[in-house]
């Protein structure tokens, strides 16, 4: 599967020169990278690196000061990006009074989602016992699984998920990662923001390393390892955490 994903190398989204400031704080500075069809791209960075801001700017939910998002050769403005991108924010509890069943049903109807996958997604994310539970009564992990289901059922080909494994225990993280990979197809691409390096290494095909609002590296693990060795000037253990530390 991973090999197959690597074969889809055409960038379908290109982020170019994206900058964003909050007052005097530079949240993003000249950020640029590309998303390729059928891959799982990981946005890696420490807390406060600007991952969420970057996702919100890319999704068109936060105005960028400069820079642009390109679908192929076309520059696409905020609201129109939802034709291809769907962003699942972290830490939200949408429609808190409604039960999970209705929330999924609503998202399928309202967004025109992938109804044929619904049963599979519910089974993969073990949501069946939660179907009658209101969103507000879910635990953090249960809510995260529901949000993942919302994302997976969205019709857009590119799914941006902020911290997909946040709140999940080890077993659930593995199952969620397996579910994401299961739903990865040439016309389904994932862009995940992850601050747990170990999780990222297990699930992503390529990485964008963000530090202090800047992209410090982009590429597959072997490429980043080589870059880290070059920058460090000595050999590094074959561990993504060491590579990350050397590059950020």
């Amino acid at each position: 599967m991973r090999e197959e994903a690597h074969n889809h190398t055409d960038p379908i989204v290109r982020v170019h020169g994206l900058s964003k400031t909050y007052g005097r704080v530079h949240a993003l500075e000249d950020v640029g990278f590309s998303i390729r069809a059928g891959e799982i791209l990981g946005l890696i960075g420490p807390n406060g690196a600007g991952k969420t801001t970057l996702f919100e700017c890319v999704a068109g939910l936060e105005p960028a000061d400069s820079g642009g998002i390109f679908f192929g050769p076309l520059r696409v403005e905020g609201r129109h990006r939802s034709s291809k991108l769907f962003y699942v924010p972290d830490g939200i509890a949408p429609w808190p009074d409604q039960p999970v069943r209705w929330v999924l049903e609503y998202s399928l109807g309202f967004f025109g989602g992938r109804r044929t996958f619904a049963d599979q997604v519910i089974a993969d994310l073990a949501l069946a016992p939660l179907m009658s539970v209101p969103i507000r009564a879910l635990s953090k992990g249960q809510r995260k699984r529901t949000l993942l289901a919302l994302g997976l059922l969205a019709p857009q080909p590119i799914l941006l998920i902020d911290e997909p494994f946040e709140g999940l225990d080890l077993r659930q993280s593995r199952e969620a990662a397996a579910t994401l990979r299961k739903h990865l197809t040439p016309d389904r691409t994932f862009f995940l923001s992850i601050h747990q390096i170990a999780d990222a290494a297990k699930v992503c095909d390529r990485f964008v390393l963000l530090s202090g609002g800047r992209v410090v590296a982009e590429g597959a693990l072997d490429m980043l390892t080589a870059l880290a060795r070059q920058r460090a000037g000595h050999d590094l253990p074959p561990d993504f955490e060491e590579v990350f530390l050397a590059l950020t």
Binding site: S82, P89, I92, P94, S107, G109, F111, S132, Q156
Partner: protein, 441 residues
């Protein structure tokens, strides 16, 4: 034309959200006792005025349920619209922002104005459900043998519906504009208090302030309460509702720079102000009251309607002078509805007129019909009409037209207290619990 599927889903969702909203259920439960208090005290007062307790017979003959029972009972909805509905509306709009649902829904690609319209429609439907107690009051009143006149009820219902529409739209705008629901609540209450201040200022400043105050929700409601449906009021209310909803749509969007939102808001407010001004020029109005209280007697109206020469009336009375109030309400407002080309100008050097009384021209009313001028001091309807007839050189109509007889009713509000204070709140509580269980099953 079928509704787009996504919008239908949005409507369904908004309705479910409203049904889950504690604030709406609290409002629903409170509206019953509010209507009850108004209805019970109105029926008792009406009974006293109708002869119970030896009231004068003449007074009883002039009694109409519109003034005595219907409008006072409806006034419960003015209180609910000012102090309960804004919180329900703000909760409906702000909860999507605070829960994060807005971030998801905006990615559907639907126009934010369409989204806010769905919310406003559902809130309007919720307001109609809250209208059940007034229907109960009507049934009770009819069961006592009380008279009801459908066009008057229609006028009141329309007025209160437009008032609720304004509140919902303003709450939507405030909730979209403010980061926090409490800030939005303060903004809406500030608007309500602001309109009261405007009415207060208008009462002693007159002029432009008076013109503007005439279009505040509470002043517009006054006309509907008298059974007068004015096109300018309806249009102005619709402009305000539309402008506030569009404003809400502008501020609801995410990913748009603040400066652009501010510039768009200025443009919307400017267009709305121009449209509201245009609406204020609309003259048609309909007197739907049973006793045609907003119109001259048919014989007077027939003569006045034939006057086509421009009539200008210059009134030298201060804004707070009670004679000016009576003149405006009893005569000039009717005159504007009857004569096509009439201009009224108020002239005064002070707010109260207390220190103008000694002035030579204070209290004068000048009439100018096609350059022919006369002056009078009578501020009564007969005085004004006589002056106009004299100026137009026409014979006044003969006296003796039979007036409308009232509908006195000396009865007690039997059974109303249990209905509004016990049965209604319990029914609301029971229905709320039942629907909550069904929603989660």
């Amino acid at each position: 034309m079928p509704l787009p599927s996504a919008w239908r889903w949005l409507l369904k969702k908004e309705w479910r959200e409203l049904m889950s909203s504690r604030s709406w259920w609290v409002m629903l439960a409170l509206v019953g006792p509010l209507v009850g208090v108004s209805f019970i005290s109105a029926v008792r007062s009406y009974a006293e005025a109708s002869g119970q307790g030896n009231a004068a017979a003449g007074l009883a003959d002039a009694l109409f349920p519109l003034d005595g029972v219907v409008a006072p009972t409806f006034s419960a909805y003015e209180i609910a619209a000012s102090f309960l509905l804004p919180f329900v509306a703000i909760r409906a709009i702000a909860s999507d922002r605070t829960s994060g649902a807005l971030k998801l829904e905006l990615q559907q690609g639907m126009m934010p104005v369409s989204m806010i319209s769905a919310k406003a429609l559902v809130l309007g439907a919720g307001w109609l459900v809250a209208g059940v107690p007034i229907v109960l009051a009507g049934i009770l009143w009819a069961s006592y043998g009380g008279s009801l006149y459908a066009p008057e009820i229609g006028s009141l219902a329309l007025g209160h519906l437009l008032n609720a529409g304004i509140v919902i739209a303003l709450a939507a705008a405030a909730a979209s504009l403010a980061e926090h629901p409490s800030t939005a609540a303060i903004l809406v209450l500030a608007f309500t208090v602001g309109t009261w201040v405007l009415s207060f200022v208008a009462a002693f400043q007159g002029g432009m302030w008076e013109e503007m105050a005439g279009y505040t929700p509470s002043e517009m409601l006054q006309a509907f309460r008298r059974g007068l449906v004015r096109l300018d009021h309806v249009l102005a209310a619709l402009v305000l509702i539309a402008a506030a909803l569009v404003l809400a749509g502008v501020w609801m969007r995410l990913g748009i720079p603040m400066r652009r939102k501010a510039m768009e808001s200025v443009a919307i407010v400017s267009v709305a102000a121009a449209l509201a001004f245009a609406a204020s020029l609309a003259r048609p109005s309909w007197d739907v009251s049973e006793n045609e209280r907003n119109s001259f007697a048919a014989s007077d109206a027939a003569i006045l309607g034939k006057i086509t020469t421009p009539l200008k009336i210059e009134v030298h009375l201060a804004p707070e002078d009670p004679r000016r109030f009576d003149l405006e309400k009893q005569t000039l407002s009717k005159l504007r509805r009857t004569i096509r080309n009439v201009t009224v100008e108020y002239v005064s050097g002070s707010a109260t007129g207390l220190f103008e009384q000694a002035s030579e021209h204070y209290g004068e009313i000048w009439y100018d019909l096609g350059g022919k001028r006369i002056v009078g001091r009578a501020a009564t309807m007969d005085g004004v009409l006589d002056a106009i007839y004299e100026l137009a050189n026409v014979q006044p109509p003969h006296e003796g037209e039979a007036g409308h007889r009232g509908h006195p009713l000396a009865t007690q509000p039997t059974g109303a207290a249990p209905v509004f204070y016990v049965v209604w709140p319990l029914a609301v509580l029971g229905l709320g619990l039942f629907l909550q269980r069904r929603r989660l099953s």
